[in-house]
């Protein structure tokens, strides 16, 4: 196989895996922002918390990686309900500024708290045997963990798509994102709907955080470092849009991986260029409401 083509496939593959991580982590943020217009800068903190719970469960208790992921996302999802009910709920009608300040404050607090308990050094977890090494797809081999990420992402996308498009609750969510007042007037309890999506979104973020441990390395500063990336995915994709978030995650994931491969010094430059370009042409993102 020619060298360039081989590299191209590698970049595409890694980009796809990265895009799946971005999608899993950002989709909750997109839906909650679309539903309530709530700017949640603490979303990255939920992801980070999920990651550290996985680390603790795997290393202190020897629980396997996969069950640890499940426990972590369920735990974070449940705890986030409490946050939503006690704190966030008061701020739905507040200005963007107050929402930004509240949630960035929470992000700072969580970073500090996790630094205190876990220290600033990146953590790792033992992977099960079947996720290690490479997998042979006939024409060449790929890292198993990334292949797993892609498969998991595809499964989750299918599930979310089904829930969004085919179920009653999905129809309610779409209606409420489209026009909240109209949805309320036909008897949809948007507050309860929001609590539910918030919990699921935070749980997925925690799952993303757990998956990030092997992909990106996990430190407490993850909460703000990657938050900007999640926000970009939401803004570029369009708030509240499932396919927008997916498209944005794919574009950002692949462009970033490719950019870093071709121009290692340029860092994340290309992401920002894309963001600015998209937002200047389509201010509400790919599939957002104008």
């Amino acid at each position: 196989m020619p060298h360039a083509l081989n590299d191209f496939i590698s970049v595409l593959f890694d980009g796809l895996a990265y895009a799946m991580f971005l999608f899993i982590t950002s989709v909750g943020l997109s839906v909650t922002m679309g539903l309530m217009g709530f700017v949640n800068l603490a979303h990255g903190a939920f992801a980070m918390a999920g990651g550290f719970i996985v680390v603790s469960l795997a290393r202190t208790y020897g629980i396997d990686f996969i069950p640890a992921l499940v426990i972590a996302s369920v735990t974070v999802g449940l705890i986030s309900v409490r946050f939503e009910q006690r704190l966030y709920r008061r701020f739905y009608k507040s200005t963007d500024l107050e929402q930004v300040l509240l949630t960035i404050g929470l992000a700072f607090m969580s970073i500090a708290a996790f630094t205190y308990f876990y220290g600033p050094i990146p953590k790792s977890v033992p992977l099960p045997h079947w996720l290690q090494g490479d997998v042979n797809l006939g024409f060449r081999t790929f890292p198993t963990y990334r292949a797993f990420l892609i498969v998991l992402g595809a499964v989750l996308i299918a599930i979310l798509w089904f829930v969004f498009e085919k179920t009653n609750i999905g129809a309610k969510i779409r209606a409420a994102v489209d026009n909240r007042r109209m949805a309320e007037s036909v008897g949809i309890n948007v507050d309860r709907l929001f609590t539910l999506t918030f919990a699921v979104g935070s749980g997925l973020a925690a799952l993303g955080g757990g998956l990030a441990i092997q992909l990106l390395g996990l430190t407490p500063s993850f909460a703000l470092l990657y938050l900007v990336l999640f926000l970009i995915v939401v803004a570029v994709g369009g708030m509240g849009s499932l396919k927008g978030t997916l498209l944005a995650a794919l574009v950002i994931g692949i462009v970033d991986t490719g950019g870093k491969y071709l121009f290692p010094v340029a860092g994340t430059f290309f992401i920002y260029v894309i963001t600015v370009a998209v937002l200047l042409v389509k201010p509400a993102g790919f599939f957002g409401r104008e």
Partner: protein, 423 residues
């Protein structure tokens, strides 16, 4: 009431109203206070003047943010872009062009940053909300990344050390203690502040508050909203640029970290802490923040970061107008006497509130106990030893704390609810 006295009453009301507006921009004696304090600080803390200059620079930076955030209502998390442009303008001018005269340097920094603000603002300010927020973040990040791409010019994250600048007016040398710098920065701040104050009290400044309060109405009365915003954005960018230029000159050093997201977030926190849209909020906020940071981050950066987060949350929940707002409320506060002062009345729903607080406190306690056990167990062993006992102890502790906090909150709020007349 006869027609004559009615007429009289209207006349005096008119007089009062027009007098108020005509005098609103006059200097109040209390406005001398921050400047007198700044001068006094020079004599009291004369060995900490390098730090003092940094405080003044951050005040200027926060004032520039107040103009767009506090007055025009533009939320940005990328204002560091313009601070950085100013900082690199003087650094590169001195290093590459040999242009090291300081005063023309900060003017150049302001002009370059202002022009950048004009162009960027023209593109960005058509948008609002999350889109605008993301564009501001992206712009600062792009500058940082492109600076890193050309680290042969910018020095990258290692920075450009050992910059030199001419003596002030060709005469005042920079001293080791930063005394000259302090007066230099203070004078620059005074000039900038005077300009900002004029703008705030001008018809243009009024139009900005109008945009903050209600854009739809501004459009309906024929205001060119976009141009007003672009104008103030450029001015704010220029001031941020001047602050950045002073930052480079006083440190004789600059790195790409000036473009950090943290820098943008920090100046916002300072402003919020002091109070937005009130000019002197920047003074209070930046000073309190810098002094606290200086003390606390030396003790423990982690605690400092936690404290900043907590401050923000508390400020948003209880003191939305910042420290200055708290001072104003406190000075307007009067203890009620006699019949107006009522006793605290226990209501049944308070039981429920306390139970919920206990639950949440317990949950937080559980989390801390759990995390402490799984993370760095050694730190937690100060409190309790064995695992289940530790977690239970933390749950109890959290629940108790929740009850106490909520009880205090109930006492305070039920009081003020009585004091406020029902509307």
């Amino acid at each position: 009431m006869s027609d004559a006295t009615l007429h009289q009453k209207t006349l005096t009301a008119r007089q009062r109203a027009s007098d108020y507006l005509a005098r609103r921009h006059h200097f109040h004696w209390a406005e001398a206070l921050p400047w007198l304090l700044a001068i006094a600080a020079f004599f009291v803390f004369s060995n900490r003047m390098a730090f003092g200059s940094q405080v003044l620079i951050m005040i200027m930076f926060a004032v520039s943010l107040d103009l767009i955030l506090g007055y025009a209502g533009i939320i940005t998390l990328g204002h560091a872009a313009f601070f950085g442009i100013g900082a690199y303008t003087v650094a590169l001018a001195s290093l590459r062009l040999g242009w090291s005269e300081p005063i023309s340097g900060i003017i150049a920094g302001g002009v370059v940053a202002g022009l950048a603000g004009l162009v960027v603002g023209w593109f960005m300010l058509r948008y609002r909300g999350l889109t605008l927020l993301m564009l501001t973040i992206a712009f600062a990040a792009m500058l940082q990344e492109s600076g890193n791409l050309r680290s042969d010019i910018t020095g990258g994250y290692d920075g450009l050390p050992g910059l030199t600048f001419d003596p002030l007016f060709g005469h005042f040398q920079y001293d080791l203690y930063g005394h000259t710098n302090y007066w230099y920065v203070l004078a620059a701040l005074a000039v900038v502040f005077y300009v900002v104050r004029r703008i705030v009290y001008s018809p243009f400044g009024q139009a900005l508050t109008g945009i903050r309060e209600n854009v739809r109405r501004m459009n309906a009365i024929g205001s060119p909203v976009h141009w007003r915003l672009v104008t103030v954005y450029a001015i704010s960018a220029a001031i941020a640029g001047i602050a950045g230029a002073l930052f480079t000159q006083t440190n004789a050093y600059v790195t790409l970290t000036v473009f950090d997201f943290d820098t943008s977030a920090k100046v916002m926190v300072m402003l919020i802490l002091g109070g937005t849209g009130r000019l002197y909020g920047a003074f209070v906020g930046a000073t309190v923040y810098m002094v606290l940071e200086d003390y606390l981050s030396k003790m423990s950066p982690t605690f400092w970061q936690f404290g900043i987060g907590l401050l923000l949350v508390v400020a948003v929940l209880f003191a939305r107008r910042g420290l200055l707002g708290v001072v104003e409320s406190a000075s307007a506060f009067r203890w009620r006497t006699g019949a107006a002062r009522r006793r605290f009345v226990w209501k049944t729903e308070y039981w429920k509130a306390l139970a919920v607080a206990a639950f949440d406190g317990g949950l937080i306690g559980f989390l801390i106990g759990f995390a402490g056990n799984l993370g760095r167990a050694d730190r937690m062993s100060l409190f309790v030893s064995a695992f289940p006992a530790r977690v239970v102890a933390f749950i109890a502790l959290g629940a108790a704390a929740g009850i106490v906090i909520n009880a205090v909150y109930l006492l305070v709020t039920s009081r003020s609810a009585v004091e406020r007349p029902a509307s």
